[in-house]
Amino acid sequence: MMLTPSIAVLRRDLTAHWRRRGELANPLLFALMVTTLLPLALGPESQRLAFLAGGMVWVTVLLAGLLTLDGVFRADAEDGSLDQLLLSPAPLSMLVLAKLTAHWLVAGLPLTLVAPLLGLMLQLPQEAIGTLTLSLLLGTPLLSLVGGVCAALTVGMRRSGILLALLVLPLYVPVLIFGAGAVDAALTAQSAMQPLLLLGSGLLLALGLAPLACAVALRLGTT
């Protein structure tokens, strides 16, 4: 019963994204292009690329996700549906969680699914691909949640591109460290369990706190 409004928001957001499904490919194309540029800049030697691949895939995914972040609340703020959400009797944090889930489903999850391909392009050894995907599966929702708070803070501004990056990137540091650290551990035949568990605990913490912070930020932006 309590979840009904959230599910409605989730369904609405997914439908809206599906109607403009051409745009969904953009972050994926961006990630593919960055991954094409990297060997051109670093040289084609397989060994050197393999050594750096985990970290480079993580940075690429992080930046591609950053490009989609500005849109999380902006379209809703412009057409007025954000005000409807704020007026709704349902708890705002649950509605926000639904919106962030929708964002992850259309940005984070597809990026996670193409990540093995990006890894192969950068000569990432087969045995590390599983860890890479797992670390992204735990890490990308975390990026959506933390990024959502900053997107909510900047929603009142007309354009927020660089500022949003400035706010978000320092907060992404731990996610990047543990995510890339897990892949690194898998490459050097150590156990990737510790960084993965830390990513998971970070995700749980953010699941609890980020929607609340996001709701406060949205209310600040409109009053």
Partner: protein, 252 residues
């Protein structure tokens, strides 16, 4: 009501704060100059040069107090951010925002003096070790707060949005700190501990502590100077500001 609590409440009103800060500032400036003068003279001329590092060890009297301040100011901003978000205290908003550039400056001084110190002792200006990296991230957090505050037109709304960002940063800072330490540990462990014996000789510890006090006085002075201007600008339409500017009496 308890008189101290009453006074504290009254200080939240802009005219009282403005007058009180004006009275306090000359004292703070004098204390800054005295303690800073003693600390710098002691540190740069009296204290012994290090057996291993030679004269370059004297950078510690700038570097370490600045590093302490860079974190203390963020904590100060976080406390004010809570006041600003929960009780919507105008002065708390202003204090949090006035502190941000000072904190950023101390963080910058820490990074620059640290890298100048690193050259003779480690042989490089920059290494990606845990404490350097988390200071750099702290600087970016400060820039984020300043950037968000200046990007929103309405001053009070901007201050509250930036306050929320400060609190998000406060939750994140220990995590960033831990993650960066997990990532790399190359730096020497901390030499000054609050509990237990410090591994630093008293001839170096004293000037360091005096400098730490001097930076606190400087922070208080700079904070009040900045926030007085911000109070005047925000309240420029109010009657008390007009009365004060029109009156011929010497201003506090």
């Amino acid at each position: 009501m308890n008189p101290i609590l009453y006074w504290f409440h009254k200080l939240g009103s802009p005219p009282t704060f403005y007058a009180f800060a004006g009275k306090l500032m000359p004292w703070l400036l004098v204390l800054t100059l005295i303690s800073g003068g003693i600390g710098l003279y002691w540190g740069l001329f009296v204290a012994p040069a290090d057996y291993l590092q030679g004269e370059s060890v004297r950078i510690i009297y700038i570097h370490v107090p600045a590093a302490w301040m860079s974190m203390a100011i963020y904590a100060f901003m976080a406390v004010n951010a809570i006041f600003a978000l929960v009780w919507r205290t105008k002065i708390a908003e202003i204090l949090a925002m006035a502190a941000a550039p000072i904190g950023a400056a101390f963080t910058f001084i820490t990074l620059v003096s640290g890298s100048l110190w690193g050259r003779p002792t480690w042989g490089t200006y920059w290494t990606w070790d845990a404490r350097l990296t988390s200071q750099l991230v702290l600087l970016f957090l400060y820039f984020g707060v300043i950037g968000l505050y200046s990007a929103i037109e309405d001053r009070r709304r901007a201050a509250r949005a930036a306050s929320l960002l400060i609190l998000v940063g406060v939750i994140n800072l220990p995590i960033i700190r831990y993650s960066v330490e997990w990532w790399s540990t190359l730096h020497q462990p901390a030499t000054i501990r609050l509990v237990g014996e410090s591994s630093m000789h008293a001839s170096m510890l004293w000037p360091l502590l005096i400098m730490a006090i001097a930076t606190k006085f400087y922070f208080a002075w700079a904070l009040l100077a900045r926030s007085r201007v911000m109070v005047l600008r925000q309240e420029s339409g109010k009657a008390w500001v007009r009365d004060m500017l029109e009156s011929k009496e010497p201003r506090p």
